[in-house]
Symmetry: C2
Subunit: 223 residues, 2 copies
């Protein structure tokens, strides 16, 4: 696995760490911009890699193939995320008692799977994540989970939202759902422009989601 670590040069001491799980195409402009914003805010940020070798897909076809490669061995996703979190926690610049994670699309699923594994995580944020449960059992969830979801997302229907809510409740998680009406998948991606397929950018949903997630990071990670 090959991630990218960002932090401010002038950190006064060990800082909270945030792991970002990219969308299914691998790290791109959306994840990079977000990482910069969080690093400037004083977090140490790891842009994670759940494919290996820091792969970035050239197009949707390649991204889909990479994603199905991991999906076919689903428990691997949580293990790779756990390895990334451990690498982040091991940084000298990081206060390992204050860790959060966020992810987009398939990376949202990756973050949920990490939280489901009982990882030592204060915050788990999923942005238009895919919500279906992995085969391995859900552990007691330590993270405060924030699910940011476009209600018209074709990859996560209302039934999947309701099932996730039930799962998180049963796992004892503190959790919140933000559902955005008239909004589909990929709402954080300014290049998403396929409303007929339920995938389109929404500036309003993006702004509301990031604002809520930033507040939760600040609340739980003590910044």
């Amino acid at each position: 696995m090959r991630g990218i670590l960002l932090s401010d040069d002038d950190l006064p001491g060990p800082a909270p760490g945030i792991l970002i799980a990219p969308a299914y195409a691998g790290t791109g402009p959306v994840e990079e911009e977000r990482a910069e914003v969080l690093a400037r805010a004083g977090y140490v940020v790891l842009l994670g890699d759940y494919y290996g070798e820091g792969k970035r897909a050239a197009d949707a076809e390649e991204a889909t193939a990479l994603m199905f490669g991991v999906e076919a061995q689903r428990p691997v996703l949580a293990r790779r995320m756990a390895a990334a979190l451990a690498a982040l926690a091991a940084q000298e610049s990081v206060d390992a008692t204050r860790l959060g994670a966020m992810g987009y699309c398939y990376g949202g699923k990756a973050v949920l799977d990490l939280a489901r594994s009982g990882a030592d995580l204060a915050v788990a944020g999923s942005l238009h994540g895919v919500l279906d449960r992995p085969p391995q059992p859900t552990q007691a969830i330590k993270a405060s989970v924030l699910v940011m979801h476009g209600w018209d997302d074709p990859l996560a229907k209302p039934e999947a939202v309701v099932a996730l809510a039930q799962e998180l409740t049963a796992a004892g998680a503190e959790w919140q759902l933000m559902g955005f009406g008239q909004t589909g998948h990929s709402f954080t991606n300014p290049r998403a422009n396929s409303p007929e397929n339920g995938m389109a950018y929404s500036a309003a949903a993006t702004q509301r989601a990031y604002a809520a997630l930033d507040r939760l990071f600040a609340e739980k990670l003590g910044r």
Copy 2:
């Protein structure tokens, strides 16, 4: 109908107006405190009355009887709310082009019914509202709707949330749902203390709900 109007003495000119629909017991400390906060923030606030004569129930039994009296003639609820909104809009201190509404419990239903009627409303906020649809057809919804919901609310199950989402989407509304895990009905009420019946105060949910609603009022009513 007999409401209570609150506003700051030093308003520089016509201000946006907010109608508050109380919980089923009629206006009490929760609604009054909220009205004061909003008035201090520069809104003209009307504590509405959907029972008549400004009735406040002495206990849960009386509140239930009052509520069923209105519920038995459900279309009346939206009409009484419309009359309250018109009274608010007619105040000299109010800019009638900038109106919002919020409500608790049965008052959440009242605000939703007002929005469903196509009222000229920029914001409609429901706090642990009851979500079922009235018999009259839903009109094109002008309000930006924010549904703040405890996921374990016994008065509004996940199926009702999903049905409301579908209704709001079909009505063309801009809408958002905040779902709070491990949270039931009455979460804004510090005196609610019946978790075994799914009704209990949650300081965290209250704070998150009010913060989101305040931001939406500020965004849509231009304060």
